[in-house]
């Protein structure tokens, strides 16, 4: 009986209508009509005794029955909303700020060409790319370090990556707000009441370390309410999303290959470029997408650490709904965001993803 797990993916069932995947009620046990032209289905039809086919059909019904409640739920509360967003994106905004579900048009999509919208889209893309690259640069050496530890140390390290992964995202971003807030832990510009700020501490380091501290640090503004603050918050938020798939794929590499490469006089850099990186590519792709996609649609982080000055795609969409009351335009932007996400995940699955 046992249908192999990968069986469905082979795609036999859908092209030639093999009864395997059939959920139609079993009206008699005739072989599917009109499909006997291909030799393949003739063979399967002949090779499969009738009762077995009936059993499979019953099995298909059972599967469908198990899925049905969830299926129905997802159709109502996910697929339908998806359709409605798409519908709204073609609708018209009326004078009172409401939405007329008539006179369908592409005006909302045409607005993507406006300079301000383009600036926002490109700024969001840029910050998402910067965040992804920084995460990659930090996470790769970290994941490699982790993968080369003994199993005990490795598990312990993993636990302490899982903690931030599971910890409330809002709270973790807020923690940075507390640190960077003016006249707080970072610096103390207004009143000189508190001496132990991070900047003070850096300036108080012993002499032999002072060379690393540039003079301008004294007047360094807090990165709060700037693009630096946003990237900081995003990197902080999504770094575990990069570490976990990278670790999963590096750990799977046979590390004796690294040794072999070194034995054959490859330099460390060559080994990294020719051996490690190609072998860990699935992890790199998976991690990058897991960081890039949420960074692109980020809303909470820019609001908490970026202030209102640096408008990004996520905030801009929210504004369309909560303040500007231009729902069709907001819906169109959401559809565009979804489109970018779908393209990214296509790349992910092409690279035999599903590492997470």
């Amino acid at each position: 009986m046992g249908c192999g797990r990968r069986l469905g993916g082979a795609g036999v069932s859908e092209e030639n209508g093999e009864p395997d995947g059939d959920v139609e009620p079993a009206e008699g046990l005739d072989p599917p009509q009109g499909d006997l032209t291909t030799t393949e289905s003739v063979l399967t039809a002949e090779a499969t005794p009738r009762f077995e086919r009936a059993a499979r059909r019953a099995d298909a019904w059972r599967g469908f029955f198990f899925a049905a409640p969830t299926y129905l739920y997802m159709l109502i509360f996910f697929v339908a909303p998806l359709g409605i967003v798409t519908m709204y994106s073609f609708a018209t905004r009326n004078r009172t700020g409401g939405t007329d579900l008539e006179g369908w048009n592409l005006a909302s999509y045409a607005r993507l060409d406006e300079p301000i919208v383009r600036t926002i889209v490109f700024r969001s893309l840029w910050l998402a790319v910067v965040t992804t690259v920084i995460c990659l640069l930090i996470a790769y050496p970290f994941a490699y370090f982790m993968a080369t530890r003994t199993p005990r140390v490795r598990n312990l390290m993993l636990v302490f990556v899982m903690i931030p992964f599971w910890t409330n995202f809002l709270v973790r971003n807020y923690a940075w707000r507390v640190i960077l807030e003016n006249d707080g832990i970072w610096n103390d510009t207004a009143e000189a009441t508190q001496t132990d700020t991070v900047v003070d501490w850096l300036l108080d380091l012993p002499h032999w370390m002072q060379w690393a501290i540039p003079d301008w640090i004294e007047n360094l503004p807090s990165p709060l309410f700037s693009e630096v603050g946003i990237v900081l918050g995003l990197v902080y938020g999504f770094l575990p999303f990069m570490i976990l798939p990278l670790y999963a794929s590096i750990e799977r590499i046979d590390l004796s290959l690294v040794e072999a490469s070194r034995d054959l006089y490859a330099s460390g850099r060559q080994t990294l470029r020719r051996v490690l990186i190609p072998l860990s590519k699935p992890g790199i792709v998976a991690g990058s997408i897991l960081v890039f996609v949420p960074s692109l649609g980020a809303y909470v982080t820019p609001q908490i650490l970026g202030g209102d000055k640096e408008t990004l795609l996520g905030s801009y969409i929210v504004v369309q709904f909560l303040t500007a009351r231009n729902w069709p335009f907001g819906a169109a932007l959401s559809v565009v965001l979804l489109g970018i996400m779908l393209i990214a995940t296509q790349i992910y699955f092409r690279n035999e993803g599903r590492t997470l």
Partner: protein, 280 residues
């Protein structure tokens, strides 16, 4: 496998170790600082003014915050309960049976995991607005956004996460035991009840914890589907932060942090029991 020889030496090793240490400092220092300053007796959130627990008292005295906390708990528990049942059934249907339109269902089930929060939030807002317009017109009912809409939206994304975790568990399980049970004339139900279910229980528990965490964490989607006065704790905190931060927010954040940590601890416990993979 001894990872010994592939371990880097010399300066590379120093650099890698330093990087690892810095990553951990980066991860945990902000959280620790937040926890410490939630006990600071100063109106400015980031300034130390002596030890106090009064901000926690303020949090407890704030009816709005307390209401939204209970709302969070209720939404999280109910949405987890429903999504565990639906998600597990979906996982079984996808891993153990072959049927028509299965691949479509599979794709639909994957989408909530990868969809940006903002897009999903917009979807749910428009869906409920449009749907309520119709139902209120046709049936003369007065539905409005609140507990119900928040819970329905949370179930919609939680189902996917539960099913992915349970599926990973089912996929890693060998079919032999189930087949043996069937060969020994156990009914399908008995096979499920006595063979499959005990084996996937850790997966279900893991999925449930993930669902609880996600539900307690969510800000964007909840903000869009909550009604006036009826919302969850993270959304309340988020709107407070935007109005201007106060030490009370520090205290609330630490409470939320502790809740997350309890869930992490539980999930690690479960992971130890099943001795398995990272997230699946």
């Amino acid at each position: 496998m001894s990872a010994g020889p592939a371990r880097p030496r010399g300066t590379t090793r120093v650099a890698l170790t330093a990087n690892a240490v810095l990553v951990y400092v980066f991860f945990f220092a902000p959280i620790a600082i937040l926890a410490v300053f939630s006990f600071s007796d100063d109106r400015l959130v980031g300034r130390w003014g002596g030890f106090t627990t009064s901000w926690y008292g303020d949090f407890w005295a704030d009816e709005l915050l307390k209401d939204s906390m209970w709302m969070s708990v209720r939404v999280a528990v109910l949405s987890t309960f429903v999504s565990v049942i639906l998600g597990t059934m979906a996982a079984l249907a996808l891993e153990r049976f072959r049927w028509k339109t299965q691949r479509f269902f599979d794709a639909v089930l994957y989408l909530p995991i990868i969809i940006p929060d903002v897009t999903m939030a917009v979807m749910m807002l428009l869906f409920f607005t449009w749907g309520f317009d119709i139902t209120n017109d046709v049936f003369g009912t007065e539905f409005s956004k609140g507990f119900g809409t928040i819970t329905l939206s949370h179930i919609a994304f939680n189902i996917s996460f539960v099913s992915i975790v349970v599926r990973a568990r089912l996929a890693g399980m060998s079919l032999e035991l189930e087949e043996a049970a069937r060969d020994l004339y156990a009914t399908r139900w008995k096979t499920f009840r006595h063979v499959t279910l005990p084996q996937i229980t850790p997966g279900i528990a893991g999925g449930a914890l993930l669902a609880l965490t996600l539900s307690l964490d969510d800000v964007v989607i909840t903000q869009f589907v909550s009604g006036p006065g009826a919302t969850t704790l993270p959304v309340r905190v988020f709107s407070m932060i935007r109005k201007g931060i106060t030490p009370v927010i520090n205290a609330v954040s630490v409470v939320m942090l502790v809740a997350s940590l309890v869930l992490v601890a539980l999930s690690l416990l479960i992971q130890r029991l099943r001795g398995g993979s990272i997230t699946g």
